[in-house]
């Protein structure tokens, strides 16, 4: 009996790692350079017997990519023999850009999107207060200015580099 339990435990441990590595294939549909692991929205992976559960959290309350992400997770796991995977959503604790991996930040920058600054610089309600030193992902200058607080998705703001003159998206800290 004891051996059986140990065996189950071992296979579950292997499976969690395997599921995690499979999730590297699931990208954010709106920022396709990031996997959902890079983004920090995978909160838990549970394997009980042959049942797999992936727990995710939205970046913003209205993130329209969540349904797509759920379907993509189910599709990737299904292709690898986990057809009965459950994908559940939690809101708490609220997602923060602090959970984005360094690898994710590097990928963003290489893709031309300025990665989020550390949270201690985060926005507060005072008007016209700007985050300091958003770095241009193209020429690496810090001489940049905000064009718009909202960009092509809820998680981004629009900036312009005053040196190389290129506009760029900034993945705003949240």
């Amino acid at each position: 009996m004891r051996m059986v339990m140990e065996h189950q435990h071992d296979s579950a441990a292997v499976s969690v790692a395997e599921i995690r590595s499979l999730l590297k294939e699931v990208n954010d549909p709106e920022v396709p350079v990031l996997s959902i692991l890079d983004l920090g929205i995978v909160r838990d992976i549970k394997v009980v017997g042959d049942t797999v559960e992936v727990v995710i959290t939205p970046t913003y309350s209205g993130c329209p990519a969540m349904d797509m992400i759920r379907m993509d997770i189910a599709a990737v796991l299904g292709r690898h023999g986990y057809g009965n995977a459950r994908i559940t959503t939690v809101l708490s604790p609220a997602w923060t850009t602090e959970w984005m991996s360094q690898e994710g930040k590097d990928k963003l920058k290489a893709y031309g999107i300025a990665p989020p600054n550390p949270l201690q610089q985060v926005c507060h309600v005072r008007p016209f207060q700007r985050e300091e030193a958003v770095q241009c992902p193209h020429c690496l200058s810090y001489h940049t200015s905000l064009i718009s607080e909202f960009g092509s998705t809820a998680c981004k703001a629009l900036y312009r580099c005053e040196d190389c003159k290129e506009p760029f998206d900034y993945f705003k800290c949240h």
Binding site: P58, Y60, S61, G62, C63, P64, V90, L91, S92, P93, A94, W95, C123, H124, V125, R126, P127, F128, Q129, I147, S148, E149, F150, G151, S152, T153, A154, L158, H174
Partner: protein
């Protein structure tokens, strides 16, 4: 009234506020004054409607426990005007950009403190939704504050429009802090805020921004109420007519 009914009404009120304001803001999509601000107001609409979905999902869960079995979509698309519990402010027509901005500012200045309190409250689901949405509300407040200052302290034309918007909207602001029974219950249960305290915070926020914008804080006057108990201005009907048309005409339609 049983506690579960108070909670259900309170959650619907929270949901309706952000659905209706989100829908109003979404009317700007494709019509914004400049592209960046079209995107901004559309993103704010998206945040608000996302918040509404979280509240409606909770309301649907409560209704199932209470034996009514409402669904998230049914609550949004199949209730009539007298069942909606949103504040009158949120349903007011967009008007021009100044009026839309000022409406958002008044609401966000309320929402940040409301959600901060929900996040610390004793209902775990509302606390989670509140904590998540609080950060979004802060961002909306900063954005709308800047626009109130920019227009109020801008050109003669922008100032004229901001003052007109203020005259049109002010009478709808008092309702946010005039508690109805389910809000008194929520405050008493440690779920929601004491609105009399929230009102002081709201006034301070508005006064500070008005000072910078060169706008005079209006003197006390009689305020419209009723939305939170289902008595609405005619504006709500126009929203529902458009928002609910598809589900009314083609029940259960999906795409």
């Amino acid at each position: 009234m049983p506690e579960s009914a108070f909670l259900y009404q309170y959650v619907l009120h929270l949901a309706d506020d952000v659905l209706i304001l989100g829908h109003r803001n979404s009317e700007w999509t494709g019509h914004g004054p400049i592209l960046e601000q079209d995107i901004a107001i559309s993103n704010i609409a998206l945040d608000l409607i996302g918040q509404a979905r979280n509240f409606y999902q909770y309301a649907a869960q409560l209704s199932t426990e209470g034996g009514i079995s409402a669904t998230e979509d049914g609550l949004a698309y199949l209730r009539d005007g007298w069942d909606f519990r949103n504040c009158l402010l949120t349903e007011q027509a967009n008007g021009d950009w100044a009026k839309t901005i000022l409406r958002q500012f008044f609401f966000s200045a309320h929402q940040v403190d409301l959600y901060e309190r929900l996040a610390k409250g004793s209902d775990a689901t509302l606390a989670a939704i509140g904590a998540k949405a609080y950060k979004e509300a802060v961002y909306h407040l900063r954005w709308s504050s800047e626009w109130v200052i920019r227009l109020g302290d801008g050109t003669e034309e922008s100032r004229t429009r901001m003052v007109r918007a203020l005259n049109e909207l002010w009478e709808f602001t008092g309702e946010m802090h005039a508690p109805v029974p389910y809000e008194l219950w929520a405050a008493g249960s440690g779920i929601g805020p004491d609105l009399s305290l929230l009102r002081l915070q709201w006034e301070e926020r508005v006064r500070n921004i008005f000072d910078e914008a060169g706008l005079a804080y209006p003197s006390a006057q009689w305020m419209q109420t009723g939305g939170k108990e289902g008595r609405h201005t005619e504006q709500l009907g126009y929203i529902l007519a458009e928002m609910q048309f598809l589900q009314r005409a083609y029940p259960g339609c999906e795409w």
